[in-house]
Amino acid sequence: MKVQDHAQAAAQFIKDEERTDWHDETLWFVRQKRDLAAHGIPEWEQLREWASQIKDHTLSNLSHYLESFEQKAIANGIRVHWAADGEEHNKIVHQIIADHDLKRIVKSKSMLTEECHLNEYLIQKGISVVDTDLGERIVQLRKEAPSHIVLPAIHLKKQDVSDTFHDLLDTEKGNNDPQYLTEAARQHLRDYFIASELAITGVNFAIAETGGFVVCTNEGNADMGAHTANVHIACMGIEKIIPKAEHLGVFLRLLARSATGQPVTTYSSHFHRPREGQEMHLVIVDNGRTRQLGRADFRNSLKCIRCAACFNTCPVYRRSGGHSYHTAVAGPIGSILNPNLDMKANADLPFASTLCGSCSNVCPVKIDIHEQLYKWRQVIVQAGYAPVSKKLGMEGMAAVLSSPALYHFSGKMGRTTLKYAPFLVNNGFNPWYKQRDMPAPPAESFGEWYQKNRS
């Protein structure tokens, strides 16, 4: 199914230099907004520590909290379903739709349903779902996947959106005004909301103590769907559990500030019971999460609250775009989650990093992302899934570094080449030459300098 690995897809992305620069700068701007918001809270680092500790505690008691959550949710009148994997999740959702014979379905953003490929599954069953988050609707109309978990259409320029809307929503040709385009989407989606029979939403947090769940949006689309439809299906991974409502104080302070630099999302909606006459379903999904829980080196990744701060700060993500990660969750966090789902298919992702550690520094729940990227590399090489170019390069490097004579000779050759025949390395065959010039060579190596000056 996968056509290109991260490096190949990234090479495609950066061919358009102007667009790459725009993408890079736009995400860096979001990162800066995050910094401003974080610096406005003197106890920010303490908040991150609390969030991390609450998640550690929850993971260490996960089975207990899941059971008590289920018990309370059922008592609240919510119908709880369990799915071992994506396939079972999709079957459950489809069964609910089929039982009621419903046609008009709206969905707000849920990375879990992307991970399970719910839309594609339902299309095969002859059921279409309308995505209602503006960014998600844009990419859905273009038959693309979201490229970012918080900003799904961040890879597109306004003229791209304008062209798509002109073709499909009949907006004025060439009108690129975001205000105008957003208004057109509002009118277009409002008709779907008013007529909706079933709404699918994600879940940001599920509260074990009260058996309720919280959904955060800025647009209000989750609420518009959930409160119009007679059937509401919320889908969550098992790691969304938190022990008590008071812990939301910690997570809601961190989430939006880390994601977009806002003090909080416009709507933080707490669902505890279906409204009069409504049916509320909750699908709790494992899909590899209990396996990840058992991997001591990687279980920290389950603490993620999907803020995407690691995307926005990542020098590789910013310059390669979300689609180059060929998975539902891109970026640094995706690169440590996806090898757990399919190590072979996602073997390239932990290598799509400079290991600079910026992701770990901004993570609101203190996941050691860059350390896990490094550890996945060891696991992947040992399992024999390392990309061929990486394997050859590493074997060559090992030979050079294990022989002093070969090491000195190679260094000299490198300096001579850069000095007298730079065209030998300043060409397309050298991956280090892409997007940069090779540096001017030093006259001598440190070893040579030391020999001369040691006295």
Binding site: Q53, A153, D223, R253, S268, T290
Partner: protein, 197 residues
Amino acid sequence: MNSRDRILQAAAENQPAQRDLPVIGFERLIRYDEPAVVFEQVLTKIGGQLVRVKNLEEVKKRFAEADQEKFCVDAIDCTEEDRLKIQAWKATDLALLHTLYIRGSFGVAENSAVWVDELAMVNRLLPFICEHLFIVLEEKEIVPTMHHAYQKTDVSRTGFGSFIAGPSKTADIEQSLVIGAHGPRSLTIYLIENDAL
């Protein structure tokens, strides 16, 4: 074994050794000398507006002055009869809802969010489907942070409740902020001042 039992068993087998819950030390939290002033500053920044009023009568007067050609609903202090009528409204009935007045339980200075529960909404759809939302809030009900907010209420007291911070918005097209995504195009907080009480 069904999926539920398999998942719970796998979680029990794979979860790490017990880690303790932290104690949230309120002495570590940011303090504001004037929470209401901070609340207004943050609200203005996120596209909302604040109007100081002396009492509920002033709010009622303003509602009476609203454009009555449009579909306007005052859900503050409704009679039981009104409540039943509002609760029965479906999305099709509310498609043209222009102005809504509701009561907020309390506000949060650090992010200008206001807690509105189902009792105050009367009908869950109301504050999301209206074009212009007006929330009445008492100044003495403004707490500094979200930690304090969760001490103020049991969020499971009603079947649904939401922290609402500003009008609906999106920046999904080239990161340009647009107010009025799917929900209200404007949010006004009527703040009933302390001295008036």
